[in-house]
Symmetry: C2
Subunit: 358 residues, 2 copies
């Protein structure tokens, strides 16, 4: 997350993660989500808040999820259906379940297959938003597996040289265990930023940096600017010269693996809230010695962290490190939420007659 | 490839691809590479030339490959060894074989596994350079499979905020079949450009665009400049503000999948010419109906191509399209090579007493 998008500590109230999770679980349960699933959904959201991924935490996603249950888009009690299956692969129909609830079940299936054959790949159509993609990739870690998760969303990102959004922010998340070091956890939108971050910045009156968005005619806005109401998000790479065709290509790849491989149509032909998901678990033991893998991961992570910093920079970090640091801080000191967000959350609890613990 | 790096047609001689391939095959054979392998190596190189990927064609790679055979780095007659194997996965020791020759054999194994279990994943350590990564991903296409290929190279790319190269250009290639449209073929370095392109530009006296390279202290060079002798290549994303942490994370992910999962060490701990490779084949039929997949791919590709262009732009392309267009042109009209390159190639043939057909 770029600095300009960050919540100023002055405006923030520190909220206990456990309390936030209990209240969020109660909210889902009150809507009719079964108890285990409600707890899982709350865990995905609050994990994002704890890891510093505010764009995918309670404040940004909860209301959308509630709305999708209330308007009937999401099924409260989805029954996953296996469309096709082989020893290492499965295609699932998500039965309009919310992604935060059904994707962990897909990953569980991938892990079971990887245990048998070395790798498990599960695609899923007809499901809702999956929250922070890293959550699902990380589910492979306790099994000594490498996890991957991708998701195809509604069209928000402009192809290189285009003036209409045709692809989602289509993120790629990847998690690999280490030994003494924290796991390597990488989670990126294939757009230059998740669209939520631009919307948040706009809401909070913060400008977005040059090259992040384009105006309605597709021309990249190359100066710092307050996002207009009508904007297009650039693919990773920003302009063609800086490699936007790579972000565009990655987004297309994610679309193919999540949508077409799941037997679904692509984002531009589907309703906005019909997401497609793709998870993989790689069983490390099938490839190499697990202890050796973890030891080399430690060495690799230390090698990257010990890179001499560029002039004017303090340190070189490794993917997942800011989130591990946020997690340590927020578990100890609470999750910083804007006081208006706290009021809003209390209001939601009141509206649904759920006890608010924050 | 950015325009400024392109060969001016005036300096180019058009060379017949078949003739170039025959002479290249003869060169490898003369060195002691078995006939089938020599033909394969030449096919990988000339395919790059035909597809317009000059950075990975004969002119840029052949001499390196010859040198690695002559100095004993590469084994003329490698015998691939299976280190570990499961129903869907294998880890191979490349026995110091050149990647262009041994990686197609890894993909063949992945395809066979995918036919049985839905997916095949093969990692390989102890091998040489694999040429254009897309070549290997595309080997899955005739089997109605989606192919992927990644490779970890020696450290050339600087981590975000760092001043020393710690990661390779670590490319990701991906190929998915379509029906009436050409296959979707995507091949990107996770650096902002392949280092070869910067070297080529330097050799030809062309400047590199802003944000592509950093000076020796790690500071990104934000104006158009002739690359100095000492330069650092930026990750995809260029600066932190534009998302270089994403290119850096992708490069790390490629390193983990190619190196650590293959039981190998990472690039910064290995000799420069010790590459690690990773290939996957996804059997489409295991996931969904193949004809439906291809039909949706056609629709997807057409949807992207039909995106209204941004102000001042002519058209929106899809990954692989420039290469398919180059292939049609170059098959019909020959491969444009700088006249100095033609002289150089003739010299190599003379030196190795091989008949030069170009």
């Amino acid at each position: 997350m770029v600095e300009s998008f960050k919540l100023k500590e002055d405006d923030a109230v520190r909220v206990d993660g456990v309390a936030l999770q209990r209240s969020t679980t109660a909210l889902f349960a009150k809507l009719g989500v079964p108890a285990d699933d409600a707890a899982l959904a709350a865990d995905v959201l609050v994990s994002a808040d704890l890891r510093g991924v505010d764009s995918h935490g309670v404040s940004n996603m909860l209301e959308v999820y509630i709305d999708r249950y209330l308007d009937g888009t999401q099924n409260l009690t989805p029954e996953l259906r296996v469309v096709r299956e082989r020893a290492s692969t499965a295609t699932l129909d998500g039965d309009r379940g919310l992604g935060v609830i059904v994707v962990p079940k897909a990953m569980e299936m991938a892990v079971a297959k990887a245990r048998e054959t070395g790798v498990g790949v599960v695609t899923m159509s007809n499901a809702g938003h999956l929250g922070m993609a890293a959550y699902h990739a990380m589910l492979a870690l306790p099994h000594d597996m490498v996890g991957m998760c991708m998701t195809a969303t509604g069209p928000q990102v402009v192809p290189t040289f285009g003036r209409e959004p045709r692809l989602g922010t289509n993120p790629i998340a990847f998690a690999a265990p280490a030994g003494e070091e924290q796991a390597f956890v990488f989670d990126m939108a294939t757009s230059i930023v998740p669209i939520n971050k631009v919307r948040n910045a706009r809401r909070m009156g913060h400008p977005v940096p040059p090259g992040h968005i384009a105006g309605p005619d597709g021309t990249p806005i190359m100066e710092e600017t307050l996002a207009p109401e009508d904007f297009l998000v650039m693919p990773l790479g920003s302009t063609r010269e800086l490699g936007s065709h790579k972000g565009y290509g990655l987004a297309s790849m994610v679309e193919i693996m999540c949508s077409m491989l799941a037997g679904a149509n692509f984002g531009n032909r589907l309703p906005r809230h019909a997401f497609r998901h793709f998870v993989v678990a790689y069983n490390i033991d099938a490839f190499t010695d697990v202890a050796e893998f973890k030891h080399t991961m430690d060495e690799f992570i230390r090698d990257l962290k010990s890179t001499p910093p560029a002039a004017g920079q303090e340190r070189v970090m490794v993917a997942g490190q800011p989130e591990w640091e946020a997690l340590a801080d927020r578990k100890a000191n609470g999750i910083p939420l804007h006081h208006e967000v706290v009021e809003w959350f209390r209001g939601i609890c009141a509206e649904h007659e759920v006890r608010c613990e924050i």
